[in-house]
């Protein structure tokens, strides 16, 4: 047993990772903060925070078309991040990386451009029962406009997609399949590679919502062969307000622009405007320059980790939490898929999640409570919401122990 722990420490030095995150080192309501709300947003390492202030202190200028030194520097740094993202997700070309405001921004972009151009009356868009509202509503909007239909892949009790049913839904009418790589409520890792292959055989294009996957799972868009992928910087140790949409070049070329404005044009007359090349065609207006620049530091941080060891570490936190909670009378786990990231949803038979969240906060523990923007999933499961603990690399087994003990204590106290 001791050798195992020793091995683990050699494998992954969580304490030195924690040191990089200033926000983790504080007390909340008199207790050391336990931050278990990473699926909502992760904390940021010092180098990301420093990069933001460095940019504003030294390099701040609007990008592109500038001939002065600061504009050159800002542009170079902005484009550096594009290259860093490209290699981080193994995209064939840097022009296939579009900067957006986040996952939501990316999905809306695809729905409003690719969807608007290629969806026709009677066509179908396939989603799954565990999607985030951000991967439902944009499709509902465009489907309604075009007279297309949404189809939903059902899930098992454990929270896994039923692939047999997915195959039945696929047909010549299917134009788009848009699926979360990882469920933000259940933690389920979906078999996206198979999903993509099957969709392609049916002639459909696939968007992968990687909002929850990007922080945990090494991603290779070429190998996955997805047509689009969207994710947010803030969910992978990066800044808020920036996100990435990856798209295959031929699709991005075929899509009409999304928003009109500066940067996305080649030539404007009042008679006609010609649009800029990729990726600028989809980046109208002054983008979120500082946050994009600082995103490179978040990628560098993730690349500096031994990703395999980090995955094992997070998996250990997951296992420990699941078995700890399962051992508490009156607690039910929601989402028990075989392949999961560090997301644990649970409900108590006597304590409402809002009360639980508040009692945990009083003990310094931050979790998320409610429907997690997956109301259709909640309806399907017949629950109003869950308590959700979600992990990042900097969480520790000691934090999990404290969390389990605290939940136990709360339940005992409310029993009497």
């Amino acid at each position: 047993m001791t050798t195992l722990t020793e091995n683990k420490q050699i494998l992954f030095d969580v304490q030195s990772v924690r040191k990089k995150f200033p926000a983790l080192h504080q007390k909340v309501n008199g207790h050391p903060l336990v931050y278990f709300d990473n699926a909502a947003t992760s904390q940021k390492p010092k180098e990301v925070i420093d990069a933001l202030s460095h940019f504003y202190e030294k390099d701040n200028a609007n990008i592109h078309r500038g001939i002065h030194t600061l504009a050159e520097r800002a542009t170079a740094e902005f484009e550096e991040t594009r290259k860093a993202v490209q290699s981080f997700i193994h995209a064939p070309e840097a022009e296939e990386i579009i900067f957006t405001s986040g996952t939501t921004g990316g999905i809306n972009l695809v729905a409003q451009t690719y969807g608007r151009k290629f969806l026709k009356k009677g066509d179908e868009v396939i989603l799954s029962a565990m999607e985030h509202h951000s991967n439902i509503v944009p499709w509902q909007m465009i489907c309604e406009e075009k007279g297309a239909k949404l189809k939903v892949i059902p899930i098992t009790e454990a929270g896994e997609l039923i692939l047999k049913e997915y195959k039945k839904l696929l047909s010549a009418k299917t134009k788009i399949v848009s699926i979360a790589y990882v469920s933000n409520t259940l933690g389920t890792i979906n078999p996206v590679k198979d999903i993509i292959k099957l969709a392609h055989e049916a002639g459909a294009k696939v968007l992968i919502d990687a909002a929850q996957a990007i922080i945990h799972i090494p991603i290779n868009v070429k190998e996955l062969d997805c047509d689009f992928m969207a994710f947010s910087g803030h969910k992978m140790y990066g800044p808020n307000g920036m996100g990435v949409l990856y798209g295959k070049r031929e699709l991005l070329e075929a899509m009409p622009p999304y928003q009109g404005g500066g940067e996305m044009i080649k030539e404007v007359t009042f008679d006609k405007t010609t649009y800029n090349e990729l990726p600028y065609k989809f980046e109208a207006g002054t983008p979120n320059i500082a946050d994009v620049v600082a995103m490179k530091n978040a990628i560098d941080f993730v690349n500096s980790l031994d990703r395999n060891a980090a995955l094992i570490h997070e998996h250990q936190l997951l296992q420990k939490t699941m078995s700890g909670l399962a051992g508490i009378d009156g607690i039910r786990l929601i989402g028990t898929a075989k392949h999961k990231t560090g997301v644990v949803s649970f409900v108590s038979d006597r304590i409402h999640h809002f009360d639980m969240g508040m009692m945990l906060d009083a003990k310094g523990i931050a979790i998320r409570t409610g429907h997690h923007c997956t109301e259709p999933l909640m309806n399907l499961l017949g629950i109003e919401g869950t308590n959700r603990a979600s992990f990042a690399v900097y969480n520790t087994e000691e934090e999990v122990d404290y969390f389990i003990e605290t939940v136990k204590g709360i339940i005992q106290k409310r029993k009497k």
Partner: protein, 144 residues
């Protein structure tokens, strides 16, 4: 009913100050308050009785006897139930005029927003509004 509205508010302020700002004791104290509410019959737990603007479900119903309003309430969360129980403790058995003219200064004194957070604070404001609307309704009915 022998205590005035302000006497009860002072009492609540005292109780909170005894908790010394400890978050855990405060949360448990609020939930404990809810336990003292008389149970609300299931037949009142209907959508029409839900207080709008609360994230939790809060059912509120009233009766009017001899010029005084009596409130009954319940919630699906214990903290929220505790919150509305404070309002009922202050306002139960008062005339519409007393309710409409009262200044609930205890909310600011105990630092409600800090204690329960902004979302629940907004929900709390919705409960107050709903109770005052009832008072206004009864007041107008009395006038006719």
């Amino acid at each position: 009913m022998n205590q005035s509205i302000n006497e009860i508010q002072e009492e609540i302020i005292d109780e909170f100050s005894m908790l010394g700002g400890d978050m855990e004791s405060t949360v448990f104290y609020i939930m404990e308050l809810g336990n003292h509410l008389p149970p609300l019959d299931e037949k009142y737990k209907i959508p029409e009785n839900l207080v709008k603007g609360c994230q939790s479900k809060v059912w509120l119903t009233t009766s009017f006897k001899e010029g005084k309003i009596f409130f009954l309430a319940d919630s699906n969360t214990e903290v929220t139930k505790g919150l509305i129980s404070m309002l009922i403790r202050i306002w139960n058995g008062r005339t519409p005029k007393e309710i409409l003219n009262s200044d609930l200064y205890f909310i600011e004194k105990i630092g409600m927003q800090r204690v329960v957070g902004s979302q629940r604070s907004n929900g709390f404001a919705s409960m107050i509004k709903q109770m005052k609307l009832y008072a206004l309704g009864y007041q107008q009915k009395e006038k006719v």
